[in-house]
């Protein structure tokens, strides 16, 4: 047996975002299919549809993303792992959106912001390549920006 312990860090998406909206509104936007379609890949020339969401642990979920100009749809899917309403969501994630298809885990924490409003902390990984990581980060940045536009609009 030959063992190689590699670097103690690896490619992950890690971001925080602050919102004026309270965290229950953010949690609802994250978990209600009709609302999810309004921010998930909503502003990047894509359409998100056929959303299935069931918040019971181990229940499957899916999102289908189709380019507005036409093209092959991408199905992202996985299973709920941990659901704490208005506080935390952990779910697995796979889809043909990485160089190769493999499983990763998304962990989102929803918190009150001491100065009012709320904040999320999102972690997603472990990715196998920096390119996969960068692509998912780009996606999340656009999605979270659209989420802000949705929940902070009055």
């Amino acid at each position: 047996m030959m063992l190689q312990m590699r670097a103690p860090t690896g490619p992950v998406v890690s971001l925080t975002a602050e919102f004026r909206a309270p965290r229950d509104k953010l949690f609802a936007a994250w978990t209600t299919p009709a609302l999810l379609c309004k921010w998930f890949f909503a502003e990047a020339g894509y359409r998100t549809h056929d959303v299935q969401m069931d918040l019971r642990p181990l229940s499957p979920y899916q999102l289908v993303i189709t380019p507005v100009e036409g093209g092959e749809p991408t199905r992202i899917h996985g299973n709920m792992v941990q659901v704490e309403p208005n506080a935390r969501l952990v779910y697995t994630w796979t889809g043909a959106c990485a160089g190769e298809q493999y499983w990763t885990m998304v962990d989102v924490v929803f918190e009150d912001n001491p100065d009012g409003g709320s904040r999320i902390g999102l972690s997603h990984g472990v990715f196998r390549t920096d390119a996969d990581r960068a692509m998912h980060e780009q996606g999340w940045m656009a999605c979270v920006a659209a989420l802000g536009t949705l929940v902070d609009a009055d």
Partner: protein, 158 residues
């Protein structure tokens, strides 16, 4: 609204281990509930672990680690999300072990090596702190040594 990117690298365990045994044998040793106690935290000071494995998509697994002085058992558990026999496993991991109190994901790939033997590529994460990463890296190092013993390859040097 304000978005802040907090890092491009996070705490993860990333291990590559090579065995003389073929990958189907390594996979079986990894997943068979009767074989897991032979390698998972199999070391002086511990009683053999208790393992329950339902090797099916969304099936559950649970390993109880038992220190010999019986100061308290640790239970680690989760569910399988991908099972490609003798090739790949993805499963969730949580337990009452230091740094393991929240959910992480284990991915293990079993590959052939040119000229014989096999390779396991393992990633585990994303951990929330460097300390949690260290604790798990140390645990996996011990488990891989145990796996080599269980496969009859203990004490071999590269």
């Amino acid at each position: 609204m304000m978005i802040d990117r907090t890092g491009v690298q996070g705490p993860v365990v990333d291990v590559v281990s090579r065995f003389r045994a073929p990958r189907d044998k390594v996979f079986q040793t990894w997943t068979d509930a009767t074989l897991i106690p032979k390698w998972f935290m199999a070391m002086p000071g511990y009683l053999p672990a208790l393992a329950e494995v339902e090797l099916a998509e969304l099936g559950s697994w649970k390993i109880t680690v038992r220190p010999a002085d019986d100061v308290g058992h640790s239970v680690i558990e989760g569910n399988f999300f991908q099972i490609t026999p003798s090739r790949e496993l993805s499963y969730s991991w949580t337990g009452n072990i230091p740094g393991g109190e929240y959910y992480t994901l284990v991915n293990a790939r079993f590959e052939d090596v040119d000229g014989g033997g096999s390779l396991v590529r393992l990633t585990h994460g994303v951990f929330r702190t460097e300390a949690d990463q260290k604790a798990h890296a140390a645990g996996w190092e011990l488990c891989f040594a145990g796996l080599a013993n269980a496969l009859g390859e203990g004490g071999e040097t590269p």
